[in-house]
Amino acid sequence: MELFSAKEVSKTYSSQQALTNVSVSVEEGTIFGLLGPNGAGKTTLIRIINQITAPDSGSVWLDGRPLKPGDISQIGYLPEERGLYKKMKVGEQALYLGQLKGLSRHDAMKELKIWFEKFEITSWWDKKVMELSKGMQQKVQFICTVLHKPRLLIFDEPFSGFDPINTDLITREILQLKKDGATIIFSTHNMESVEQLCDHIALIDKSKKILDGPTQEIREKYKSNIYDIAYRGSFDLKSHDLANKYNIIKHEQNGHGNRLSIQYPDGSSSRELIKDLVEQVELISFNEVIPSMNEVFIKVVKQNS
């Protein structure tokens, strides 16, 4: 079921086009990756979802009806540009932010206790924010974002400022939130975490959406007939027909593991490649190379420019 959608959303800042007819649809209980180069319009879209700005045209929907001001309590937002009141105490501040999201003081306190114990940071409660390290502040901020149990969570670069251990902790928490039924919009430049977390992605470039679909499908779609092959025996590629017919990307021949990365041209097929290969060598493995999100990202954005 669809939880959130934007339909034909456009936004212009004086002379600069921030979004042009962008539509996205986010299924309930999934993690949706919102990708794009710097300045593409992601932040504008996120701000529209949070009702910080309004679109010039188009509409935004939550739960099958237009988004309204009261929906703020259903959304949790961790902005990329984030911080806390430096001179305020951690606990007091978390309570304040929770109350701003509509929790009663009592409920906010109850939830905070659970989270602070889970993250083992109860001793920070009476510390001032400026006494905490950047990573510690980020943890507090993460808690403040999810405290009111929003149905829709928006994380903009949630891992920035975290060490690998804490990145791992937050990754697990995000997956747990998804398991508990939350829907997550996830914006990042870290493509590895996109592969790891996102069910679905949309890529925005120069104010337009240029790619949209399930992560796995998109990677499949951008594979380019490349195969990694391991074989026994030896043969000289150069003296052979293969080098003319196929694009040899990499060839390693030494004692035991001989490896070959090869790409067949459009119009050909993997069956033909196998047929040509088995005539020459004894195949041990034959794997199709699926591009990383990183490669997809670079390829798509380059094509668009």
Binding site: I52, Y77, P79, L100
Partner: protein, 444 residues
């Protein structure tokens, strides 16, 4: 509304709990009290040391006729002692030496010699005593020559002190005693207080907005509340901080005033003292002018419409503060670093400074055209009108001024909220006036 209250509460409590707030709130009346009490205290303990003045009377007019007072003793000394003391005045028995020349009645000049500069009090004391003796002699001579009975008493009776009562005639010929001096003092105090509060708390709003922008918390907050709620919560919260401080100062002020009264003679005590003086000096006429003044002053303070003044003060404080603090908030939202504030600050602070300058001239001529016009212009009216009110302002002028102020601050809050909304999310851009104008046009 609930969220504005949450914001307001945070803005208020974090500031009121600050050490600097408590410190300043307590320290200010102490400083004021020190300024009032210390001079009185020092004056009261001042000359408790008995000083002996050596007098060489060459004219032989004064011998034994200079009366000692509590702390000043006159001792007549012969010529040779005078000379020896003069050569080493520091180690002599005398604090100062008075040299009355033999031909004093002609020259009318007396020399006072001392190691240090002598106090003004002592100087006039010596002068008055010498003059008193001469005047007495002359008077006796005149009385003797004219032989009019009771002449001495009749002459003394010619001494007159007049009181100038300024009377304000209100509607329907209602007569009230007014005091220009009291009007000026009150006008100045209230006008200046508004000036101070607009400045202190206006900048506090700007600092608060900048803090939220610099710490990058602002985006987190406006995903929960509308920017307008955040701005108004902050402005109203800080206004309450200001009113709290004002209330505390009034309370502390009253307490200190009560305490400081013990250093000054009360009117009753003053009356007693007056009686003592009158008894001592039969030439003195009854009813000292000083006492009259105090009684007049008290009577006139009673005629001042304090509820009106306090009411107007609160209105003009809130109106002026809203007008200016919303502009300060817009500036705070537009800039990333304090240094960029300068170019935007000047146009805001200029009218405030002009107000305080106009206020001074308005106090001298509260019904003049300058006072009138500047008390109508909303940017200057809170200060200038406040200065005029103790003198009495026609009701239509007061209402018109209030009306214009309300319209202007509503418009200003509306405009600045638009700039604020865009400004708080803009980073890394050094804004210009043109840029601010553009932000005004953005759709929300």
């Amino acid at each position: 509304m609930h969220k504005i209250l949450l914001i307001l509460k945070r803005e208020y409590t974090t500031r009121v709990q600050k050490k600097s707030f408590i410190f300043l709130t307590l320290l200010m009346p102490v400083i004021m009290a020190a300024l009032i009490i210390l001079p009185a205290y020092f004056a009261s303990m001042g000359d408790e040391q008995t000083r002996t003045i050596g007098v060489y009377d060459g004219s032989a007019v004064f011998l034994g006729r200079l009366e000692n007072s509590e702390f000043t003793k006159f001792q007549f000394i012969p010529r040779d002692e005078f000379v020896s003391s003069k050569s080493d005045i520091k180690n002599s028995n005398y604090y100062a030496l008075v040299d009355i020349e033999p031909n004093f009645l002609i020259t009318k000049t007396v020399q006072v010699l001392s190691a240090n500069n002598i106090a003004f009090d002592l100087k006039s004391q010596i002068k008055d005593k010498i003059q008193g003796v001469i005047e007495k002699d002359k008077m006796a001579e005149v009385v003797r020559q004219t032989a009019i009975p009771d002449l001495e008493k009749k002459l003394a009776a010619t001494k007159t002190h007049i009181n100038l009562d300024t009377i304000k005639v209100g509607d329907g010929g209602v007569v009230e005693k007014s005091s220009t001096e009291i009007g000026m003092v009150l006008g100045y105090i209230f006008g200046f207080m508004i000036y101070l509060f607009i400045f202190i708390y206006g900048t506090m709003v700007m600092q608060g907005v900048m803090e939220e922008k610099q710490s990058r918390i602002v985006e987190v907050i406006i995903s929960s509340v509308r920017p307008f709620q955040l701005m108004m919560g902050k402005i109203v919260g800080i206004a309450l901080v200001g009113l709290t401080q004002f209330a505390l100062w009034v309370i502390l002020g009253i307490a200190i005033l009560t305490a400081s009264k013990s250093f000054y003679p009360s009117p009753a005590q003053a009356h007693q003292m007056q009686n003592v003086i009158e008894q001592q000096d039969s030439m003195q006429q009854a009813g000292g002018p000083e006492l009259d003044k105090i009684q007049d002053l008290l009577a006139m303070v009673g005629t001042i419409n304090f509820p009106l003044i306090i009411g107007c003060f609160i209105f003009f404080f809130i109106g002026g503060y809203l007008l200016y603090s919303s502009m300060f908030a817009a500036v705070g939202s537009a800039i990333d670093v304090q240094e960029d504030a300068q170019q935007f600050m000047l146009p805001i602070t200029l009218p405030i400074i002009v107000s305080i300058m106009v206020m001074v001239s308005a106090l001298r001529s509260p019904d003049g055209p300058i006072a009138f016009w500047f008390s109508m212009i909303p940017f200057t009216s809170p200060i200038v009108m406040m200065a005029r009110i103790p003198f009495g302002v026609p009701i239509w002028q007061l209402l018109l001024s209030m009306f214009l102020l309300i319209i202007t601050f509503v418009a200003m809050v509306w405009i600045t909220a638009k700039i604020y909304r865009t400004g708080i999310l803009m980073y890394g851009k050094k804004p210009s006036w043109k840029e601010l104008g553009k932000w005004l046009m953005y759709k929300s």
